[in-house]
């Protein structure tokens, strides 16, 4: 016992390290609230004069910086992608684990083999296929292909497998078909996994960079990360404006994280637990 370091020493060390992770985020917020001259000089950490001028410039200039459109695009694309992924994955996982568990197992093996291929191999042919479909420069190009993601199918299959057979048998006696069992037994049973999958998908889509960069063309159709990247090159040293835009594009996810922290942590840990 006496050779153990005091817990508070450990906590100080951990706290300092965590501070290093947090500090850059604080700078992001603080710089966005400083007047231009103070940003360039940067003699004080806190602003001498707090100002919202960068945010005013950001939102009063929709012709040049359509950040409102980018916010809307990001939100709608993330929302529809999430709904589609959760729906397609849960249906497929239910079929694999409950309706046809015998050949479902073989289907999973096939999927696992396919998962070895990373997305980068698909980028060029995907571009050409979306071009042939006439979907380039449209949100469809980002939303619909997401339904092919196998991660959710794997994750939910594990959950559906743990449904007790008696529960489904009882539902059958009540006259439930496959659809009824899925809605009344399957989905409620996997509720936490569905929420986790939804949040992970939402965050991943919100922050996706390569997809919108390659598949979208018009500035007004951009999502936040790509729009922001575009206008950082034209406003290279206007850090006040750039940081205000960064805060606007990060805040929604930070809020989502704070609200759904427990589910997100559980969801991320799923990826770490291999069967």
């Amino acid at each position: 016992m006496n050779r153990r370091p005091h817990p508070w020493i450990l906590e100080v060390v951990v706290g300092l390290c965590a501070g290093l992770y947090l500090l850059p985020l604080l700078f992001l917020g603080l710089v966005s609230l400083k007047p231009k001259a103070e940003i360039l000089l940067f003699d004080h950490i806190l602003p001498l004069r707090w100002t919202m001028e960068h945010y005013h410039r950001l939102f009063s200039n929709a012709e040049v910086i359509p950040i409102g459109s980018w916010l809307g695009n990001s939100f709608l694309i993330s929302l529809f992608t999430t709904m589609l992924v959760v729906a397609a994955s849960s249906l497929a996982a239910y079929a694999i684990s409950r309706l046809q568990p015998h050949w479902g197992r073989w289907f999973l093996v096939l999927l696992a083999a396919a998962m070895m291929l990373p997305g980068q191999v698909l980028l060029v042919p995907m571009y050409l296929i979306l071009n042939a479909l006439g979907w380039l420069d449209s949100p469809r190009a980002l939303v619909i292909p997401a339904a092919a993601g196998a991660f959710g199918v794997f994750m939910l299959t594990r959950f559906f497998r743990t449904i007790p057979d008696e529960l489904e048998a009882a539902a059958e006696i009540d006259g439930c078909g496959a659809w009824g069992k899925f809605i009344h037994v399957g989905l409620p049973h996997a509720r936490s996994a569905l929420v986790a999958l939804g949040i992970i998908t939402f965050i991943g889509t919100w922050n996706d960079f390569l997809g919108p960069l390659v598949f979208l063309d018009s500035i007004r159709k951009y999502t936040l990360p790509v729009g922001l990247a575009l206008f950082q090159s034209s406003y290279a040293n206007d850090y006040g404006l750039l940081f205000a835009a960064s805060v606007v594009s990060s805040l929604p996810l930070l809020v989502v994280f704070v609200i759904f922290q427990a589910q997100i942590v559980r969801g991320i840990s799923f990826t770490g637990m291999k069967e």
């Binding site: 370091p5 249906l91 291929l117 990373p118 191999v121 922001l228 960064s246 930070l254 291999k274």
Partner: protein, 292 residues
Amino acid sequence: MNRQAGSPGAAVLFLLPFAAAFLVFFVGPTFFGLGMSFFDWEMLSGLPPRWVGGGNYLEALQDARFHRSLLVTGLFVFITVPLNLFASLGLAAGVSALPKRQGVYRSLIYLPVLLNITVASLLWRWFYNTKFGLFNKLLQPWGLELPWLTDPALALPSISLMTVWWTSGVSFLILLTAFQQVSPSLYEAAEIDGATGWQKFRFVSLPQIMPVVGFCLLLEVLSSFKVFGQPFLMTGGGPEGATRVAMQYIYETGFSFFRMGYASALSWISFLLIFCVTLLHRIGSGKGRAGK
């Protein structure tokens, strides 16, 4: 019994949305891309694709710029992955040993992961700015002024450092969960034997979580190989191509020069390289298990 016999129709219907998307947007592009890599297809020329057999692969073998980009990618993986693993393992061990407030630290360390790549790159470009960046401001009292992103030798390590800050929260979270799942009775047994904190970490926790560490290692190697956004946004691949990674070279070949066949061949080559690494990891972890 009748449940399994009676529902093949329903199963097909349930599987349909995912399977259709999987066929069109995964299986299709995979084979399309593989086939395309044997054609010379310059989209801007307006000419139809022309069969060149292994021509694109031969060209890649002699393409010095591609080799350089592979080398840069390898170097990035080599610098980033150990740093990332070290930081996340150390923090996970530290936080899991705290008597309370584990959740607070867990969130703080995970927060940067939530930023999108543009914001993270923008922020660190400001930190790294030679003239008025924060880092050189901090170094000023010592008369130092480092060319963080403008020196060919320093640019890649600078991007690695930013990447560790931005991404280590993922491994940290996975490892923390693993630490928290180590049975307390094991620690109690070690304490009765008079183990110190370090000994408990070395001989109790570490062996227990080793498989998870291996998993994080693989995860980080794979994602570092795919690096694109950080150098693309912070240096544009410069200075003098010192940070032009394979993914950026493929992106430029495909979407600046529209050489679709060649870009496909390049993606397949880099995929095969990653695949070999995964295979090595498989063999390595298999051996580790056999040795236990």
